[in-house]
Subunit: 281 residues, 2 copies
């Protein structure tokens, strides 16, 4: 695996394989099995896999969250090498955002609710950096995890709207054995919070079971989700940021007899966790 | 010359010359010698010249201006064919902006004054459509006329910031024999206004001469420009939109001993004209 940190070296490395089908996995480092699942999927569908590791400052609306986002590039490199990644692009912020940077890409439909409402500016940072990386790496396919469901839909919409010649491939959520969705932020949880965070996935499964048993009153199911999480976190500082039931394709109001998404965000004392589940009718 | 109107046909036409160096000239049709100068420059620097003709609705802040912007695709085609253009892309608005379109590209530094101040949203429409066309056509070089000086700098900044792999080439202003800068909007001028519009270029030349004779008080030169135009248009409904002296590279305050731009916009009863001149120290 080659590692490059400058745009010049990235271009040189890519020019060596002019006809390769490139699969691209953008990450913010601090890699876990969720990222490696993206890499494995990319390996199975591409000739040449490029991973980026870049903690993108423009997508952090909360400076403390950015501050806490420490990565260890050496251990990330080891993991990527083991997983036969071809090229790692690990630029510094000044490479991606030189002084005077002033152009942004913004999607305005899929970014208004859920995390878009809780984290103003977050998705603008995401679409901007991904557009830049697409232009630099020119992948045929790019791989995004479904834990960040809204991000996946937003990137797909951006790629369609701006005519990027790249296929956006969704990859399923990877969970711990006990059900907690993998996230680089999980390790910030205290043991106490870590245990209580399991209520998020439990509440999603309970909602799914309840729907599958015939309950069609989504407000009642939502109340079940809320109760399940609230009961678990009542002895902590955590609070529910949102529990939303939305149409799984456009994130608007659920459409009867169509698949819908249950999306949950919970703020714990040291980190904010999100999770979701698509419910098929 | 091949003409295509759909994205599918555009891609097919481009795939036939996979290794050609593509030169791209985006236009809104209604072609004149200014556009043909862009085409000739593109021909001299590329293997394969693609011209787009698309009246981009998102860059018209004034609906009446869009309404007045009528093009004749047949005569445009004739002109482009005569000038040995290889491929014409002439989509309809629904091809470029299908229902639900929701992603925009916005440059925030070079678009705040001059036409950016007079035409809110204009440059956001420009950068969005140009980003889309770059992604579709993937040119190595793209050609922009310097009459739209602020547009040229904005596109160049967007291309740099978003890492588009395209060189933005400026092409000098083309003028009528009497000095009026060519514009598709000139034909909307009454004979009376057409004659008075010459004062714009005259005022720019006067400013340049005055500077070259040693005057360094830019406020005094600006006053000369204003007087020259005001005297000419005093018997019309026209009014000066702006006269600005700005640094020619960043459009900020002029920097002593650096080249600067004099930019002028005058609103006549049926159209708004712009012109500019770069003054070398």
């Amino acid at each position: 695996m080659k590692t490059v940190t400058s745009i010049k070296d990235l271009k040189l490395a890519l020019e060596k394989n002019p006809h390769a089908q490139i699969g691209f996995v953008p990450t913010m480092g601090d890699l876990h099995q969720g990222h490696l699942s993206l890499v494995k999927t990319a390996k199975s569908q591409s000739d040449f896999v490029v991973v980026s590791v870049f903690v993108n400052p423009t997508q952090f609306n909360n400076p403390q969250d950015l501050e806490n986002y420490k990565i260890n590039l050496d251990s990330d490199k080891e993991l990527l090498k083991k997983n036969q990644v071809d090229l790692l692009f690990a630029p510094t912020p000044d490479v991606m955002y030189p002084e005077g940077f002033s152009t942004y890409v913004e999607e305005n439909a899929f970014t208004q609710n859920l995390c878009g409402a809780s984290r103003p500016g977050h998705f603008k940072g995401v679409t901007t950096i991904v557009a830049k990386l697409f232009n630099l790496i020119k992948p045929q396919k790019a791989f995004f995890g479904l834990k960040d469901y809204q991000q996946f839909l937003t990137i797909k919409k951006m790629a369609t709207d701006l005519n990027f010649d790249v296929e956006i491939i969704p990859v399923p959520i990877v969970r711990e054995e006990d059900g907690l969705a993998l996230s680089s932020r999980n390790k910030r949880l205290s043991d106490h919070d870590r245990f209580r965070a399991l209520s998020i996935y439990k509440s999603l499964l309970l909602a799914e079971q309840t729907f599958k048993k015939g309950e069609r009153n989504l407000a009642a199911i939502k109340e079940l989700v809320r109760q399940t999480i609230d009961d678990a976190i009542s002895d902590t500082d955590a609070f529910i940021d949102y529990i939303e039931f939305v149409d799984a394709d456009h994130l608007g109001a659920p459409i009867p007899n169509s698949r819908f998404l249950i999306a949950v965000a919970v703020q714990f004392s040291n980190c904010r966790l999100i999770d979701n589940r698509v419910i098929e009718p």
